[in-house]
């Protein structure tokens, strides 16, 4: 017999799906705020396990470095190759270094590092914690009266805060140097002309804002990844959903921060 009830209609199902998505969206924002507050409170109370923090720093900084350097380096090389020839032709060769440096320090270095860290570290944090959730390891931690936020979140978030700035500095340096090599090869611009112009457009404010941004990005990526993993439900499918959600939310999170920083400091 056909079901003619309200609940069987496509419109009802569509609205229900929208409401569920909205509910999930709002509850995720709520959780990020609540857990973020708790993590910061534990950090300020110095509830820290330095052994775990060092382990996570190695994972955040060292393990991610090859891929971060490759992505930032290659994207800067691509930009330098594309603009150097044209700028030299227009007689603006002396500004290539400046342009690449401003672009790398203000934007490309940090956003590309963020994307690399999200893909490599954020996804791994989310899937690790989600697996712990669905295999009852987090329940076991709670029954043993250990605070799971202190044990799981604090080392990961703190390592994000501590390691993102050095990763950014190294990646930006590699990017700027790579840009110089690319500009030289693409347009025969001398290294001297390139590296002299590097300093022309770079101000202390740019470096400070980039460092501050990297700290905020590190905090955001690690926190969102932890929260998404922690709230995982179900089995293997739940781990997959949590990991995807962590990656997507982290991308959106850092782009929103980037926009906010641009409005505050450069608008």
């Amino acid at each position: 017999m056909r079901d003619f009830s309200l609940k069987s209609t496509i419109t009802y199902k569509l609205y229900r799906q929208i409401i569920l998505q909205l509910e999930d969206f709002l509850s995720t924002i709520g959780d990020i705020v609540i857990y973020g507050k708790e993590v910061l409170s534990l950090i300020f109370k110095r509830e820290l396990d330095w052994k775990a923090i060092i382990e996570q720093c190695a994972r955040f900084g060292v393990s991610s470095l090859p891929i971060t350097l490759s992505i930032v380096g290659m994207s800067t090389v691509i930009v330098a190759m594309q603009v150097a020839g044209e700028m030299v032709k227009q007689g603006a060769g002396n500004y290539v270094g400046m342009l690449v440096t401003i672009l790398t320090v203000r934007e490309e270095g940090i956003i590309m590092s963020g994307f690399a860290i999200i893909s490599m570290i954020g996804s791994s944090i989310a899937s690790e914690i989600a697996t712990m959730r669905v295999t009852e390891q987090i329940d076991a931690i709670k029954v043993l009266k250990v605070n799971p936020i202190r044990y799981l979140f604090v080392p990961r978030v703190l390592s994000g805060i501590l390691m993102m700035p050095p990763v950014l500095v190294v990646a930006s340096l590699v990017g700027i140097i790579g840009g110089g090599v690319a500009a030289h090869l693409a347009s025969e611009l001398s290294y001297r002309a390139y590296f002299e112009s590097v300093w022309t457009g770079l101000f202390i404010k740019d470096i400070n804002v980039a460092i501050l941004k990297s700290i905020v990005f590190g905090f955001t990526i690690a926190l969102i990844s932890c929260v998404c993993g922690y709230n995982a439900k179900g089995g293997a499918r739940g781990v997959g959903i949590a990991t995807t959600k962590a990656v997507v939310w982290s991308f959106v999170g850092i782009v929103l921060w980037d926009l906010l920083f641009s409005i505050i400091f450069f608008f």
Partner: protein
């Protein structure tokens, strides 16, 4: 006193999964909670140890609670020693109480108690299901709890490993004098470990008694459970 539960009720969405149940477990006693899958047995344990919030009723417990999970729930990034010592190293009130040397000795002692000396450096993935279960026993008793909850302790184990686990449950009761609750639907576990039994069906207590009372099959519920019959008051569809 170990555990006293009075008029406990829990709903998920609008479905009542635990309906006004009451029972008491004294120190040194083992209560088996039995019933078909989906009858609310594991929910009772999660309510007692605080993993989920009750809707109404009273749960009175004395002292520390430990739980052995169905699939052991060992932390897979830690080796056996760190898993057993987890509460001693990470719990706020215990973190600075023991030295490294003392913790190592406690771990050795607990591992010996469950018959697994010398595996401190192995990781959970390197152990069999039965060994993982015994390590989780050692982790549970490391803080000398007054209450131990076992969620399907013999599920998925071969008969010999099941017998071994059942023996350890009784042995731990004798050595720790803890009040214990064993959630199971395996007859061997019920008969070899329980002092008393409650049977749940759709969140309601449908039988209370001893293992001997259960085996007498005096009620339609006990008869259906013991004979594993499809005929009787408990239908799987309702689960």
């Amino acid at each position: 006193m170990g555990i006293e539960v009075k008029n406990l009720t829990k709903k998920f969405d609008n479905k009542t999964v635990i309906n006004d149940i009451s029972f008491k477990v004294e120190s040194g006693e083992i209560l088996a909670i039995v019933g078909f899958s989906g009858s609310g047995k594991s929910t009772v344990l999660k309510l007692i140890c605080g993993l989920i919030e009750k809707d109404s009723g009273i749960i009175e417990t004395s002292g520390d609670i430990a739980m052995v999970f169905q699939y052991s729930a060992l932390i897979d990034s830690l080796n056996v020693e760190d898993n057993i010592a987890f509460a001693l190293k990470e719990r706020k009130d215990l973190r600075k109480k023991y030295t490294e040397r003392q913790i190592k000795n406690i771990v050795k002692e607990k591992l010996a108690l469950v018959g697994l000396s010398g595996i401190e450096n192995k990781y959970p993935s390197e152990l069999s299901g039965g060994m993982q279960k015994r390590v989780s026993f050692a982790r549970a008793i490391v803080t000398s709890p007054n209450i131990i909850l076992y969620d399907e302790p013999t599920a998925g184990l071969d008969p010999v490993s099941s017998t071994l686990i059942e023996d350890y449950i009784v042995r731990l009761k004798e050595e720790t004098h803890a009040a214990s609750i064993v959630v199971t639907h395996q007859m061997s576990t019920i008969m070899r470990t329980a002092d008393k039994i409650i049977m749940l069906y759709n969140g309601n207590v449908v039988f209370t008694g001893t293992p001997q009372d259960l085996m007498r099959q005096d009620t339609p519920y006990t008869k259906q459970f013991v004979t594993a019959s499809l005929e009787g008051p408990m239908t799987m569809l309702q689960n």
